[in-house]
């Protein structure tokens, strides 16, 4: 007993210092999670609470059957398929370029690194406003493309369902390839230079050295990027809300799952249904994350 008390006394500050996290966890994570479970079994309108009643699995069943929710799921998968591939390969090329110049002048080195980082520090709202004007039918980009005859007539991309998600994907790539390049560059920096030097002496080409020696050693960074893609990408909201509002635009072509849940919760105040959809989406995200780990992790 005495020994126990002594340990407790010696380590009491440990408990005191982690206490804020524990308290915060209970109030702002554990309790909302429990509330979310409860709400998902209720018909609960936030502004008409007197109508609250228990509906069992109804919200969950409705969620699995909701054509608009699955439409939003397909939209985001389509968007992410383009975003992830495009962003990653541009980032890889830029990272390799930055790696090559790292033996050169310091000033250029940090100049390029900083420049490529700029989109990362810019808010989604600002990026969307800039690109909205830039890509407008009579905006600077389309004007130039028409002058050199690549485009025949103005394109209203945000009213063309087939173009909405691909264009958002291109904007996303512009926003995120820089930070991914910095992450990959961090990985390239940890690879011992003897590896590529030895291969070069053996007569291996630059391209072979990159794909056969360096690329496989980037695995930790690639897993990190892809996990962040799976978690963050599937929860895209601001990009589409800013452009298309709560409905997701023409034919709901810009509707994403989080935008749909937001609409159910804060548009229609159906907190029970919105909670159930939140759980369904979260399960999909966790499964996607596990697939990424399973596919990319080191095989024994």
């Amino acid at each position: 007993m005495k020994a126990f008390l002594r340990t407790l006394n010696r380590s009491k500050w440990g408990y005191v210092f982690v206490a804020p996290w524990i308290v915060g966890f209970f109030i702002f994570s554990a309790y909302p999670l429990w509330l979310g479970v409860k709400l998902s079994f209720m018909n609960y309108n936030l502004v008409a609470p007197q109508s609250m009643r228990f509906v069992g699995l109804q919200n969950w069943i409705n969620g699995f059957r909701d054509p608009l929710f699955w439409r939003s799921m397909i939209n985001i998968i389509y968007n992410q398929a383009i975003t992830i591939v495009l962003t990653f390969f541009i980032a890889l090329a830029i990272a390799y370029g930055l790696f090559k110049i790292s033996t050169g002048k310091r000033i250029w080195n940090s100049f390029f690194r900083a420049a490529y980082f700029l989109p990362t520090i810019t808010s989604v709202v600002v990026v969307m406003l800039i690109f909205g004007s830039m890509l407008a039918p009579y905006g600077p980009l389309q004007n130039v493309l028409r002058q050199i005859n690549i485009l025949k007539k103005p394109i209203v991309w945000n009213l063309t369902p087939a173009l909405i998600m691909p264009i958002i994907a291109i904007i996303n790539s512009w926003m995120y390839f820089g930070v991914q390049a910095i992450i990959l560059l961090g990985g390239l920096g940890t690879i011992p230079t003897e590896y590529s030097e030895a291969a070069r002496i053996d007569g291996a080409k630059e391209r072979t050295i990159f794909w056969k020696i360096m690329f496989p050693l980037l695995r930790p960074q690639i897993i990190f990027i892809m996990v962040m893609n799976a978690i963050g990408g599937l929860q895209m909201f601001t990009q589409v809300y800013v452009n298309f509002g709560i409905t997701g635009g023409v034919n709901h072509a810009g509707l994403t799952p989080v935008l749909y849940i937001y609409g159910q919760g804060l548009g229609k105040f159906q907190m029970g249904y919105a909670s159930a959809l939140g759980f369904i989406l979260s399960m999909i995200i966790v499964i996607a994350t596990m697939i990424v780990f399973r596919v990319l992790r080191e095989k024994d």
Partner: protein, 275 residues
């Protein structure tokens, strides 16, 4: 060998410069457009040079948007979140890295596990809870739910583990208590990681749109991101230069922070990876 390297490097410079144009052009368009008149923006958007050059966009920010109030709201929220996190995250990181207490490893494992829960799971029930507490349309709805964050604790813990135990032992022999060690050894030695975390959290709160959209109802409570978006979606095109000026003005503070503290920004992304 050296010659070969130089050719490689020159090719990399050319490639990176092409990429640079793509990265910089939207920013250039933003800055130039912010000095244009509404007429020029409407008629000649392919021109990059403002003719005539005007500050009417920037003046409009004060007259039509009340930009100072938006800044005030944003600074209160982003500043509070940053300060609270720096304090509470570093305390927890110190405990998890340097104080031995029963249950520590289990707690850390649990914290890691919570990182796996997608954020979307929380926003509807948290909104419901804060709505009942009457927190909607108050700064506190955006400050307290994120006053301590595990990801930051994790990064700080990794850094603090590098601090030699001998230093702490020596301080203990001299009779220093844990709070004293925290203030006089841990904090001064962890300033690099604390700066990185502070920047990340401040930038996140500054650029946040979703949180303010959820909780801030009246226009006088709005943050810059929310205020600018609301303004942009409601104005006639004769005021387009105000939106461009707004984009410049709300990006500038983060840009200035970035130019001065570049090392810490980039550091946050250079040592990441999952094995």
């Amino acid at each position: 060998m050296i010659k070969h390297e130089r050719i490689e490097r020159r090719r990399a410079y050319i490639f990176l410069s092409i990429g640079l144009v793509i990265v910089i052009y939207p920013f250039l368009l933003m800055v130039m457009s912010s000095f244009m008149t509404a007429t020029q923006l409407l008629n000649n958007p392919q021109l990059i040079i403002p003719v005539p050059f005007t500050f009417s966009g920037y003046i409009g920010l004060f007259k039509r948007l009340d930009i100072l109030n938006l800044f005030k709201n944003t600074i209160i929220i982003a500043g509070s979140v940053t300060l609270l996190n720096v304090f509470f995250d570093s305390l927890a990181a110190f405990a998890l890295s340097k104080i031995k207490f029963p249950g520590r490893d289990a707690l850390f494992g649990f914290m890691l596990f919570t990182l796996m829960i997608p954020g979307v799971l929380f926003f509807i029930p948290t909104y419901t809870m804060l709505y009942h507490w009457g927190w909607v349309n108050h700064y506190r709805a955006l400050i307290f739910p994120s006053f301590v964050q595990f990801y930051s604790i994790f990064l700080m813990k990794q850094f603090m583990e590098q601090i030699p135990d001998e230093l702490i032992e020596a301080a203990k022999i001299d009779g220093a208590s844990d709070p004293r060690i925290y203030a006089s050894i841990i904090i001064p030695m962890s300033l690099p990681v604390i700066s990185t975390i502070a920047i990340l959290i401040f930038m996140g709160a500054w650029n946040d749109f979703f949180g303010p959209l959820l909780y801030l109802r009246s226009p006088n409570m709005w943050t810059i991101q929310l205020g600018l978006q609301m303004f942009a979606s409601s104005i006639p095109s004769s005021d387009a230069q105000i939106v461009w000026a707004g984009e410049v003005v709300i990006t500038l503070p983060i840009l200035i922070l970035f130019l001065f503290l570049q090392k810490y920004f980039i550091q946050a992304f250079t040592n990441v990876g999952f094995k």
